[in-house]
Structures are given as C-alpha cells and as structure tokens.
C-alpha cells in the first residue's frame, strides 16, 4: 500500500517511513507544497499524510486540490497547530482523520490502517489473523468460528495491535490510545494491564494462539 507523507520536517518523515515500511507499506515523502502537488499529480496513493504548515503554501489547499479532483485517497491531517478551527475546516473539506503532533507512531499506524481498510473494503471488511476473524461492521470477533464477546475497549485494543503487528507498542501509547489526553494525568497505567489481561484471557479461552507478547519494560507486541 502506498502512503505519501507530506511533511516538511525530514526527521519526522523519516521516522514515519521507517516505522511503516516493511509492513506492506510503501512510503514516499514530500517536503514542500510544490513537491507535494507534483507527487499527487504523478502518482496514486492509498493514503496521504498531510502536514498543514508547509513551505510554499497551506496544506489545506492541497486538500482542496485532492478533493477537487475527486481522488480516492484517504487523507490524514498531521498538524502542530491543534486548533479546533483547523480540524473542523480540514474535516469539512474532506480529510478523513486528524492527528495532532506529537503523536505515537503506533497511533498513526492504527489510524492509517483503519482508514485504508475503510476505503478498500467499502466498510464491510472482515479482518483475519489465522483463526481470529474480526467483523468490523458488526463489531464481532470469531475465534475458530465461535463468537467471543469483547468489550468495546478490548476490541479497540485488538485492532490497534493488528494495525501494529510485529511492532513493539509502548504502554504509554496504549494508555493514550485508550484514554486520550487524560492518560498522563493518571498516576498509573494499570488500567492498560487490566484490559490487556482480559483480552489475552478471552483469546486464550477461545483457543487462539498467543500472538500478543509482553515485552518486559517496554510494552507489547503482536506477532504474526
């Protein structure tokens, strides 16, 4: 899957590229307004990451251009501005998602994953991981053909891990994913353990392989 990263900060673009590459993503970068337009004109992508503040122009104009041409690419705005108006404006013009800096790469990967999935399968897709089947529309999980009841947060975690397969996801990233802004206001991230413990237990009880590995000191990794 092709991802275009429109970001003028080379180090950040490199990190994103590094994180996404290898897991069936092919990343290209554009560091300026002009370069971004050239790339969009020349190629098609599955997903475009768009920084709003670019040398040579405003990212929102690029978004206008993409939408004007009725292109199919999903667009995720990555912005340092974190201003409500920008977010609303971006989503109104037709961006699919908005993530503000600084973000965890795992969070970004989950957003991209979810966006591409929605675009490709027209929202009726079923994800498969060997014996595990996730129906995204019905929000149900089957293991070996049998329904396993997950809470909303457990399902959320499962998808998050699948989007970051073979990557180590830190506890902090998980806490922020589950609780948003308030995560680091909380003294402990114990609630993350609780949800993961339940998730693992339910999968194990349904006879699934233990894909979710605990990496001591750093977090978790979904191996497949």
């Amino acid at each position: 899957m092709k991802v275009l990263i429109i970001e003028d900060e080379p180090e950040l673009a490199a990190s994103i590229t590094d994180y996404l590459s290898g897991e069936s993503y092919l990343c290209e970068t554009a560091a300026s307004f002009r370069q971004a337009l050239e790339k969009i004109n020349a190629f098609e992508y599955d997903c475009i990451l768009l920084d709003l503040m670019l040398p040579g122009g405003n990212g929102l104009d690029i978004l206008q251009e993409i939408k004007h041409r009725k292109r199919e690419e999903g667009v995720i705005i990555i912005s340092a501005k974190d201003a409500v108006e920008d977010k609303i404006k971006g989503l109104q013009i037709g961006a699919d998602d908005y993530i503000s800096k600084p973000f965890h790469l795992a969070e970004l990967a989950a957003r991209i994953y979810s966006l591409i999935r929605r675009k490709q399968f027209n929202n009726t897709n079923v994800l498969r991981q060997e014996e595990i089947e996730v129906n995204l529309l019905a929000k149900t999980v089957h293991v070996h053909g049998k329904v396993v009841n997950f809470t909303r947060k457990e399902l959320d975690l499962l998808l998050y891990f699948m989007a970051n397969r073979n990557r180590v996801v830190s506890k902090t990233a998980l806490a922020e994913h589950l609780s948003g802004d308030i995560a680091d206001m909380l003294d402990s991230h114990d609630f993350v353990y609780a949800h993961i413990k339940n998730l693992k237990k339910k999968l194990a009880e349904a006879g699934a392989t233990n894909y979710l590995k605990t990496i001591y000191g750093s977090g978790y990794k979904w191996e497949s």
Binding site: E11, L12, Y19, K81, S170, D184, L186, G217, S218
Partner: protein, 428 residues
C-alpha cells in the same frame, strides 16, 4: 473624597471671606476719616463766615450783644460767647458724644466740634461750631450689612460658576476617566479619546493613548509568544516521540534500556501535555473560543464520569453523584468539557486510594469534592504551575485553565476544605 473642583472653591470662598472681613474696618476708617475731614472743613467755613459777617455788620456794643444772644438762641450747633482775655486759646477740633436736644428719643449722638477764638470790636469771643456726625457703630453696621450682602453674592456666584465649569470645562476629563475605567487589557480594544481643545486634556489623552497602546502591544506579544513557543515545540516533540517509538523496535534492547525508553516516553508525554495546556491557555486568552452555544452540562458531567469510571474503580475510589437533569449553560463546548474533565481528574488524582469523590450539579453550581488530608494552600491555587507536587505530577495548569474558563464566562470558582474534603465549587 472631595472633588477636585471643590478644593479651589473652598479656598476662594475662604479668601474672599478674609478679604471682605478686613475690608469692613478699612472702609470704616476711610469713611470716618472723610466724614471728619469734611465736617472740620464745614465747621471752619461756618466759623469764618460767622466771624466775617459779624465784623462787617458794624453794630454797636448793645446791638452786638443782643444779636449774639439772638444768634445763640436760634442757631443750632453753635455757641458764640464773649470770653475774658485770659481764656483765649488757639483753635481746637474735638469730637464729643452727648444727647441731642432735638432728638425726640434723646439718643446719644456724636458731634464734631470746632472751638475758635476771635476779637470783635476789641473784645475776645469764643465760637463753638458743632455738627452731628454718624456714630461709628452705625457706620460699621451699615458697612457690615453691605459687605455680607456682597459676600453672599460672591458665594452664590462661585458655586454656580463652579458647577458650570465642572460640567462644561471638565467634561473631556471625565469622559477620559470613564473610558480608562472601562478599559480591559485582555479585551484588546483600543480606546478612542474624544478631541479636546484644551491643551492639558489633550496631553493627558495623548499620554494615556500611548500608555495603553504600549500595554496592549506588550500583552499581545506576550500571549503570542506563548502560543508561538508552544507551536514551535510541537514538531521537535513529535520527532523525539517518534524516535523513541522507533528505538523501542530495536531487537537488541536490554530490559534496562527498555525501561529507560519507557521513562523517557512518559516524561515526554508530560512535556507534551504541559505544552498543549499552555497553548490552550494562550488560545483562551487570545479569544479563540469565541463562539457560544447552549450546552447540556448534565450530559457532559455524566459522560466524563462514565469515561473515568474505570480509573475510579482502579484506585478504589467511591463515587457519589447528585446531578440534576438537563442543566443548561451557555459557553464554548470545548472549554466547558475541558473545565469539567480537569476538575474531575484533579479530584481523582488527589484522592488517596480508597477515598471518595462527590459530584453535585444544580442549576446554580457545580461542586466536585474529594477526600484529602488537610487543606491546600489557597494562595495561588489557580495560578499556573503553583500546585506542582512531586508525588503526583500533573501539568500544573489544570486549575489555571478552569479559572480562565470561569473568568471568561463570569462564573466564580472557589476552593474550600471541609470535613476532610477538598471542595471545588463553580457558581454560574
């Protein structure tokens, strides 16, 4: 407090009182002096004329004697009598007080007299001419009455003039004052002073205008600085975070190294949040949440509680809520949500494990209490970075944001400690 204009008025009145009071003896002395001078002259004239007339009459002794007696009888105020040679004296002028025989009431009158000696037909005579003068007390009384009348006239004039002056002349000053009183720096609205033709007021207005503009610029720059600084920090923070995430992927990490990365990640999260909150504060101050709408506060509080439920139970905190239905307030949704969640998180963070939090909402107020051990220092509780504690590090901005939001909508936020509970109350 006295009004500025009443100060000179009092001085003017006092001064005119003193001047007019001292004028009374002055007038009296002058008038009396003129009186006496005039009467002396008059007496002199009478005496000269009498002497002249008598000497030109060329009467014989008997006739003269009879004439003098007749004269004495019919001519009031004069006495003409023969005297011996030895009684002759130089002329003298005097003032005498005696009853006036023609005055029916017999009052004591004042007379100015002239006694003169002259020789007529070889015989010495004495002529006394006396003229009634106004008494001093009557003169003084008359002058005093007139003076008091003029003083009252001055007093009335001063007061009326003063009023007129204060209304008309000082109008620009009071207008300027009113504008300055209503000036609010955080609103960033410049003041337009009215034009005035008076130099002092013009200078005052110009100086104020200058001062206000400089203040506004400094204030704006300071706010912009915070916002820009926070903006600029976002990107490097994003880079550090992404690099840490990447580092975590390295397969050769030891447990220790993983721990270090995790600790760095957590610290970085705090920095990011402080930065976000600073940005939020700057934005509130910069009026970037201007829109207002009706908000279902009950809904917001309930949603927040629901979201925090698991954190409450994780910490073993008991929850007690008394939330009235459908409480509506007007404000910006983002800000109100931030305010509610900050207060709730604050309560959870500072409750000891196994503690209790109470949430009460009515049309009049929102009250969030949590158990604690001893009151907090109220001083600067709502100021930025004032309540940083090392046991539970937050951003140090949560309450500052709450305060800022309340200020914006004219709500009143207060803290108290009662029955082992920290109580935060917002009155709408």
């Amino acid at each position: 407090m006295t009004r500025l204009l009443n100060k000179p008025l009092r001085a003017f009145i006092l001064y005119s009182l003193v001047v007019l009071a001292t004028s009374i003896p002055a007038y009296y002395l002058i008038i009396d002096y003129i009186w006496r001078l005039q009467l002396d002259e008059h007496n002199q004239l009478v005496s000269k004329k009498t002497q002249n007339e008598l000497s030109t009459l060329s009467l014989n002794d008997t006739l003269l004697k009879q004439s003098i007696e007749l004269w004495d009888r019919i001519q009031p105020g004069t006495v003409l009598e023969p005297v011996s040679q030895a009684e002759m004296r130089p002329d003298s002028i005097y003032t005498v007080l005696r009853p006036n025989k023609y005055d029916p009431d017999g009052y004591i009158n004042r007379f100015r007299g002239l006694s003169t000696y002259f020789i007529l037909h070889g015989k010495p005579y004495r002529l006394i001419v006396e003229t009634n003068v106004e008494e001093s007390d009557e003169t003084i009384a008359a002058i005093t009455v007139v003076t008091v009348f003029f003083f009252l006239l001055l007093l009335g004039g001063f007061i009326i003039l003063n009023k007129r002056i204060s209304v008309r002349l000082w109008k620009p000053f009071y207008r300027t004052l009113e504008k300055v009183q209503h000036f609010n720096l955080s609103r960033q609205q410049n003041i337009q002073f009215e034009d005035t033709s008076i130099k002092e007021f013009k200078e005052l207005n110009d100086a104020l205008q200058h001062l206000i503009e400089a203040d506004m610029t400094a204030y704006r720059l300071q706010k912009e600085f915070t916002e820009n600084a926070s903006h600029e920090l976002q990107t490097p923070l994003a880079i550090i975070r992404s690099k840490l995430d990447l580092l975590l992927q390295s397969s050769t990490l030891t447990n220790e190294q993983s721990d270090i990365i995790e600790q760095a990640t957590r610290a970085l999260s705090r920095v990011s949040r402080i930065n976000r909150n600073l940005l939020l504060l700057a934005r509130i101050e910069n009026n970037q949440f201007a829109d207002r709408q009706q908000i279902d506060l009950s809904g917001i509080v309930n949603e927040n509680l629901l979201m925090l439920d698991e954190h409450l139970s994780n910490k073993g905190i008991e929850r007690e809520k008394d939330i009235d239905d459908a409480i509506q307030i007007t404000g910006n949704r983002t800000l109100v949500e931030t305010m509610v969640s900050n207060l709730l998180l604050n309560a959870i963070r500072h409750s000891p494990a196994g503690g209790k939090i109470k949430v009460q909402l009515s049309a009049r107020q929102l009250r969030i209490s949590n158990s604690g051990n001893g009151p907090l220092k109220e001083d600067g509780l709502f100021q930025r970075f004032s309540n940083i504690s090392h046991e539970s590090p937050g951003s140090g901005l949560g309450l500052a944001i709450v305060k800022q939001v309340c200020n914006r909508y004219g709500w009143e936020v207060s803290y108290s400690y009662s029955q082992d509970f920290h109580v935060f109350t917002i009155r709408f």
